[in-house]
């Protein structure tokens, strides 16, 4: 192949070339001038109209790429979610056990629910541990969710438990986030709500607040989780409010629990007895 370089031989072509190059240089220099900006704006507007129909294609093209990346991310996230769910379940169990151990300074006796009667007004539970295992009247029964009830009648190897869903059950509680104290009981209306009384209306209570034992009654130790406030209404004719609480413990699936080997303070019991004797 023989390469022949072009020679500028034609005067006409030379002149045209020089003119065009001068025009080009003038355009380059003048493009920043104020007077030229309107022309540039007009050209940009025209280009934007020309390119507008293709913008959707570009968006589609980028969307395909983005979609592929998102699909890949989704697969990775699904895998991670599966692992996290497994870890969450394990963590919940461990936290529940750890929390229970941390909040309790009492020995715990693991028990199994032998009988569960939650169909009538006199609801009760029977556990497979009694006085031979150190179970005494008044000892609280708990599980990892919270308070189940308290021992009411111990036998040698079994004990009857007064659950939260019993009209005779009473406990002093406090509402988390406030210094309000009240008495929790069951109205026997349903098996989903308990009622807290004697909390003044001046105390702000909202749904979602946690309710736990106060320890004031000298029957149950403090800080055992009981339930969560679901609704509040003023007590008619009184300055207190009716606080409805949903227990944390799921009695329907309850099958195992622990008995806290808690005993009331002897000094407090003596003072209570002295107070009663003084006014009798």
């Amino acid at each position: 192949m023989r390469i022949v370089f072009t020679k500028i031989g034609d005067i006409r072509d030379q002149v045209i070339t020089v003119v065009l190059l001068i025009v080009a240089l003038m355009l380059m220099v003048a493009r920043q001038d104020e007077a030229f900006q309107n022309v540039r704006k007009a050209s940009l507007t025209f280009v934007s109209y020309v390119e507008a129909p293709l913008s959707n294609i570009r968006v589609y093209r980028s969307a395909l790429r983005t979609n592929a990346q998102l699909e890949q991310n989704t697969i990775l996230l699904q895998d991670e979610i599966s692992r996290l769910r497994s870890l969450r379940d394990e963590n919940d169990e461990l936290r529940a056990l750890l929390s229970l151990e941390q909040t309790s300074t009492y020995e715990m006796l693991p028990v199994r629910i032998v009988t569960k009667n939650l169909t009538g007004i006199n609801n009760n539970l029977i556990i497979n541990a009694g006085s031979d295992q150190g179970v005494e009247v008044g000892m609280p029964v708990v599980n990892h969710e919270g308070l189940v009830g308290s021992v009411i009648i111990p036998s040698a190897n079994n004990a009857q438990v007064l659950p939260l869903y019993n009209r005779q059950f009473r406990a002093s509680i406090t509402i988390e986030g406030s210094r309000a104290y009240g008495i929790i009981s069951w109205e026997s209306v349903n098996l989903t709500e308990l009622l807290v009384n004697f909390v003044p209306q001046t105390i702000p209570v909202h749904p979602g607040m946690r309710v736990q034992t106060s320890g004031l009654s000298n029957q149950l130790p403090a800080n055992i989780a009981v339930g969560e406030v679901v609704r509040v209404s003023p007590e008619p004719g009184r300055e207190t409010q009716r606080i409805y609480v949903q227990p944390f413990v799921n009695f329907a699936s309850l099958s195992e629990a622990h008995v806290l080997l808690y005993q009331a303070e002897e000094e407090i019991l003596q003072l209570e007895n002295q107070w009663l004797e003084a006014f009798q």
């Binding site: 192949m1 390469i3 022949v4 370089f5 072009t6 020679k7 500028i8 034609d10 006409r12 072509d13 045209i16 070339t17 065009l20 190059l21 025009v23 080009a24 240089l25 003038m26 355009l27 380059m28 003048a30 493009r31 030229f36 540039r40 050209s43 940009l44 025209f46 280009v47 020309v50 390119e51 293709l54 570009r58």
Partner: protein
């Protein structure tokens, strides 16, 4: 002559639209193919130099307006036509093979892009100081490859 000019202007307009709407966005690592350059090479193969200069001026100026480069394409493409017309027109008489066509387009493209990038740097339109070699060689090769594809599609 008028029919030829009209046909060429229509082809030029189509190439302009393709460049603006398509090839400007088909970049590979920031490199672009210049099909107006290829169009002008084709004009050089079949048309006289003066005529080619006129077509180059129209298309380059239009491209400058559409790409907001104002004079850069006009300058470099004018030099392309005036400098490469004889070479291209003479080689067009031979039946070139694909490799020869690629080498011819690449050699002309290297010269063209050298001028184009220099004048771009002069005009302050492109910051070509750091990536000069990449744009120079990359754009030349990319454009030569597209030119070979066009050559394959248009030759019998």
């Amino acid at each position: 002559m008028k029919q030829t000019l009209g046909f060429d202007l229509i082809i030029a307009a189509l190439f302009l639209l393709m460049q603006i709407m398509l090839f400007r966005h088909l970049d590979i690592w920031g490199l672009q193919a210049d099909i107006i350059f290829l169009f002008l090479l084709w004009i050089c193969t079949t048309r006289p130099r003066t005529y080619a200069l006129g077509i180059a001026a129209i298309t380059a100026l239009s491209l400058d307006i559409l790409t907001d480069t104002w004079g850069v394409h006009l300058f470099s493409k004018t030099l392309l036509v005036i400098g490469a017309h004889r070479l291209i027109s003479q080689q067009a008489e031979n039946k070139l093979q694909i490799g020869q066509t690629f080498a011819l387009i690449l050699s002309v493209a290297i010269g063209y892009y050298f001028i184009f990038l220099l004048i771009s740097a002069f005009a302050g339109i492109y910051d070509t100081n750091l990536m000069f070699i990449k744009y120079w060689v990359g754009n030349s090769v990319y454009t030569a490859l597209v030119g070979v594809i066009f050559y394959l599609l248009t030759s019998d």
